[in-house]
Symmetry: C2
Subunit: 311 residues, 2 copies
Amino acid sequence: MSLTVVGSVAFDALETPFGKRDKILGGAGTHFSLSASFFTEVNVVGVVGGDFSDAEWEVFRRHHINTDDVEVIPDGKTFFWSGRYEYDMNTAHTLDTQLNVFETFDPKLSERSKTADVLFLANILPTLQKQVREQCGAARFVAMDTMNFWITSMKDALLETIKVVDCIIINDAEARQLTEEPNIHKAAKKILALGLKAVVIKRGEYGATLFTDDSYFVCPAYPLETVFDPTGAGDTFAGGFVGYLAAQKEITDETLRRAMIYGSVMASFNVEEFGTERVDRLEYHEINKRFGDFKRMTHFDEIPFERGISA
Amino acid sequence: MSLTVVGSVAFDALETPFGKRDKILGGAGTHFSLSASFFTEVNVVGVVGGDFSDAEWEVFRRHHINTDDVEVIPDGKTFFWSGRYEYDMNTAHTLDTQLNVFETFDPKLSERSKTADVLFLANILPTLQKQVREQCGAARFVAMDTMNFWITSMKDALLETIKVVDCIIINDAEARQLTEEPNIHKAAKKILALGLKAVVIKRGEYGATLFTDDSYFVCPAYPLETVFDPTGAGDTFAGGFVGYLAAQKEITDETLRRAMIYGSVMASFNVEEFGTERVDRLEYHEINKRFGDFKRMTHFDEIPFERGISA
């Protein structure tokens, strides 16, 4: 089983009420691949500049992530994003975005990346997502992310891309914006009707919800008293979700449900520290323990109520 | 097993995007007792005016609710509330409130009401809640509601009342306001520390969460494409939650979890039609079917992940 992800590999500068970092490893492709690497073999497709140093490559190496398809443009600079969070950690205030080498990103997939049986298209230009998807004809499961910017500026192209994937993982505001439907259940059904097998709606501190044609599954968020840095939480969720599925023989209702939990487990670790710091040193026993916590948070026995004075 | 509830019995005038009603049966005591009546014997303690007609009494009779302690003030008028909902059903816009006979409500509990083994104090003056609680010394489980108005205007009295009950059922904004703590998990722990056995936080379309000293349980909301009228949803939740517990030999972590689900089941029916209309004609097979839906919405098998290339 192998998994290819196409997305940004970046430097972030972050400020939260708990501290700051001037230049740390970030990007959707990074967070996704690090998270997915706990479950399966990962190829990451991206682009960086000459400023990408051995310390960053080492994070990928440590997790056996194949970076052969991360193009290096020696005289370019790596994508840089700077953001600040107030106590309301749901909203990132962008201070600076320098696309740099990412502006002309032209994903080049090796044979190994093209033949992966699962593909994740992180948030990039919808037309690029579609091109990559078409190069990976053998993939048995393709999932994608997107963002409000593309829904506003390239909705038609985005819809064409959605039609050629199996699953979309977006947040509730994006689902509402995409469908112009305020009710999240109606919105999810409209998106499913584009031809998807699964729609995953991320709802921040309220968890995430899975919609398929014949199933509906709700996964809560892990109860955290402090969210240290939410950057990359969505990509880390997607990495756990798609990575777990890539490691399964079959994608069924049962494996999709567990994938939702693994996605939530991974995201809950991600937000405990800055950037990739926490997931980078995560261990399996911690993942499995937290998976058990999710079971205890949601489990109840089904015992029908039998008496009733007004029966 | 029997259950006493003290709270408002009222007339409501409602306007929603789906229609309107000029004068229908409402009030926290009404919604609660109707919901709880599916699980146990219920005594309701309240006050109405001479305008309360046989059609209203018949709703209580149909559900075998004991109304002996609903005082009738023949020359008074029943509490009247008029509200309007826009498409955002989370916010009720109050058009008119006429407290009428409820303004001088002085709960008078018969021996039968006093000796019930479970008590629910719906949202009334905190000092009155405490007086009632003290009259029901034999109750093995006492739960209460409150509202933002009392948190602002009578916080000290409210805290004294909370200290003499076992469980509080409030919404997330109220929990934050009461504790001045934005993080809902920290807020719930602060409230628990007042001496409660259980804190239930209602989160509207995101469901409800149970906090005890050694357990944390998340119950999603039922996925509804249309919320017709949310009036009374919180009291109907409380009626299912407390009513189910009153019917159990023991209040344990297991029964509390199932009570959360029954509360959510009952609330999900309540919002499907105006006022008490849907719950009034609800049948047991519908309740048990929807309980099963909640199981399917949340169930997954715990299978630890065993391999990992970076292990």
